[in-house]
């Protein structure tokens, strides 16, 4: 019997020449989880996913996926995983139905059940009307649904999704996520990379990657609870002037402007964050309302990706 660890990676590292794309990554994903990779472009999300599928050979470290060593045993792993590439990778000059049929044949899906399975997928992923449409002529959302249908056709135990929603509208993203939750409740483990905070929020568990390094790992709730920062919200008449003023304070880790509001991150090690901000603004005669607030995932992200600890500029 397999352990309940679907993915177990230790010290995974990938170098391309001088560039370290992924550095010493430890990763544990448990059965039935939707596990998120959050990080900006170039943070090593795709490279990690490709190493986990056996597409790339790690420079150092090792990983087992569904108890198979990758990349050594990836041929036996392939029938058990589904992979959705970042770029649409189905055949644009085949119809929706032809694409699904091809995938069914390539995975040697039992002949007797093929057409029933394809019908089921067309139904579930709302592609019945597009059945005879060339995949290349479909909208971003339709392509994405087709890609997901193809990735799950053979009932994989693990689904690896590389920025699946980067090219679709918000409504399609919501529908897509409800599909993911359905798959997860059916027992599929899902690893999904994203750079959207709201999507990261939906994951059971989350790793934040920055420049190839995992800088945080936990449930979204957990991560928000232990940012190590006080989050101060500032509503000022002149938010830009307020931002300039606050930015100069050595205690402040980060200031972000969101419309008329500013979000200020100050490490918990400094006492009285509100008084600090109020005093600085008053000195510049800037009117503002200042209050403490809860951390969002974006705050978490900002907090963990800070290059320098505040105070030494």
């Amino acid at each position: 019997m397999e352990s309940h660890h679907i993915i177990d990676a230790r010290g995974l590292t990938k170098q391309f020449g001088d560039l370290v794309a992924v550095s010493n990554l430890d990763l544990t994903v448990e059965r039935g989880q939707i596990y998120g990779f959050l990080g900006p472009n170039g943070s090593g999300k795709s490279t990690t996913i490709r190493m986990l599928c056996g597409l790339l050979t790690p420079t150092e470290g090792s990983a087992t996926v569904l108890d198979f060593e990758v990349p050594g045993d990836s041929n036996r792993l392939k029938p058990r995983i589904g992979y959705m590439t970042q770029k649409f990778s189905l055949f644009t000059d085949l119809t929706v139905h032809e694409n699904l049929l091809f995938i069914a044949e390539i995975y040697s899906y039992p002949k007797a059940e093929r057409s029933a399975r394809i019908e089921q997928l067309l139904e579930r992923y709302n592609l019945v009307a597009q059945r005879r449409q060339l995949a290349g002529t479909m909208s971003g959302g339709q392509k994405q649904r087709l890609a997901l249908a193809c990735a799950v056709l053979h009932h994989p135990d693990l689904l690896l999704l590389d920025e699946p929603t980067s090219a679709v509208d918000p409504q399609s993203r919501r529908d897509f996520w409800s599909n993911l939750f359905r798959l997860a409740s059916d027992g599929t483990t899902i690893l999904v990379s994203t750079h959207y905070m709201d999507e990261a929020e939906r994951c059971h568990r989350l790793a934040i990657l920055d420049h190839g390094v995992k800088v945080a790992d936990g449930t979204p709730l957990d991560l928000r609870a232990r940012t190590g920062m006080n989050i101060v919200e500032v509503i000022a008449d002149d938010p830009y002037a307020a931002q300039v003023t606050i930015h100069e304070l050595p205690e402040v880790a980060s200031v972000t402007q969101l419309g008329v509001r500013l979000r200020v991150l100050i490490p918990e090690s400094f006492d009285a964050p509100l008084a600090l901000i109020e005093k600085a603004l008053r000195a510049q005669q800037i009117d503002a309302r200042v209050q403490l607030t809860d951390a969002t995932l974006e705050d978490v992200f900002v907090a963990v990706t800070l290059k320098q600890p505040p105070g030494d500029s």
């Binding site: 599928c53 790339l56 041929n75 590439t85 649409f88 990778s89 055949f91 390539i106 995975y107």
Partner: protein, 365 residues
């Protein structure tokens, strides 16, 4: 119009060109290599044509004549045979290009200025060889001075085999078949994998359980059928419009074509595993197509080429197919007569497919 904007474009183009090694290779390598290679290879002064001699006379004079023929260096006598039919046999099998038949009454015929003394049996499937034989006919021989002043009819009688009417299409079409198939088939598979790489399909494919060998074999099978259909089309057009015969067995011709089609498709796949873009695949294809036309014996007889060009020619599938197709279509030769060429094509296919499957890694690094 802004000069600085034009210059900006020029600079950008030059920068990109410098980084595109293959295009750079085309700019520099293609002219130099091809001038050297084809400049030497394209040589209608054919020498050392493979020749067999049947000398039924055996007199001193006839031996003198053979020595004189050899001295021209146009022919390279590789064998002496006992009968005219043995000469014809060798001609049909493609072992020789010219057969020299010296009849028993050679000496008497030489003495009579109205008669020809020697027959040259020439492989008429290659027009250049026929031309060479005709030149040979006009060449004066040292001992041919007995009838001083009196004009004598030529000593040699040229008998072109397989294309007695000397019609060009008959010579051209078997070779052209090879060129057409080379051109279309290599291209089909050369872009086959690159296209999927460019479109992103490959990353999906290599994540499925499909193996490299399955992918390669699956990719060439449809094109094998297409190649054989093309052959049918070429043969039909050749027959209907140009009256080009298929004298040998059509089944054997198709077997030869099958091996040739497979060899070309495998070569295309090999290109496809090396090229990064479809354009690169096309560029590589040019490097194969040019010699396939010029060094395969299609345009110029093999015997006239320098050794290096012959070696390159021998490596190309088209060279072997042209020998097979000329043999079967025009000389009624059987595949068994030309086993070596068939084996080469089969071996080439196996080797190219193996290398392509090995090169095609189911990884991205």
């Amino acid at each position: 119009m802004s000069l600085s904007r034009i210059l900006a474009i020029v600079k950008k183009e030059v920068r990109q060109l410098r980084r595109d090694r293959l295009t750079f290779g085309m700019v520099v390598g293609l002219p130099v290599i091809q001038m050297l290679l084809f400049g030497y290879a394209i040589n209608t002064d054919v020498r050392n044509l493979k020749t067999a001699v049947t000398n039924l006379s055996g007199t001193h004079l006839s031996q003198q004549f053979v020595a004189a023929l050899r001295q021209t260096q146009v022919i390279d006598v590789i064998e002496f045979t006992g009968s005219a039919s043995a000469l014809e046999d060798k001609l049909r099998r493609g072992e020789i290009s010219i057969g020299v038949f010296i009849p028993a009454d050679f000496d008497r015929r030489v003495a009579d200025p109205t008669r020809t003394a020697v027959q040259l049996l020439v492989d008429g499937t290659d027009p250049t060889i026929l031309g060479v034989a005709n030149q040979l006919r006009l060449m004066p021989f040292g001992f041919d001075t007995t009838s001083a002043g009196g004009a004598r009819s030529p000593l040699l009688d040229v008998r072109p085999y397989y294309n007695p009417e000397r019609r060009t299409p008959v010579n051209i079409i078997p070779g052209l078949t090879g060129v057409i198939l080379t051109m279309t088939l290599i291209l089909f598979t050369a872009v086959a994998i690159v296209r999927e790489r460019e479109r992103g399909n490959l990353e999906l494919l290599i994540n499925t359980p499909v193996s490299s060998a399955e992918l390669m074999i699956g990719k060439i099978i449809p094109y094998i059928v297409i190649g054989l259909l093309q052959l049918a089309l070429i043969l039909a057009v050749g027959r209907l419009l140009f009256d080009v015969p298929v004298r040998g067995s059509v089944v054997e011709l198709y077997l030869a074509a099958l091996a040739f089609v497979a060899a070309n498709l495998s070569l295309g796949l090999l290109i496809s595993t090396a090229a990064q873009t479809q354009f690169q695949a096309m560029q590589m294809m040019v490097f194969i197509l040019m010699p396939s036309i010029l060094l395969s014996g299609f345009m110029f007889p093999f015997a006239g080429m320098p050794l290096v060009a012959q070696y390159i020619g021998e490596a190309l599938p088209n060279t072997h197919f042209i020998r097979l197709s000329r043999g079967i279509m025009l000389r009624d030769a059987s595949l068994l007569d030309m086993k070596a060429d068939l084996y080469y094509l089969v071996g080439f296919t196996v080797a190219a497919m193996t290398v392509a499957a090995l090169r095609f890694n189911k990884r991205l690094d």
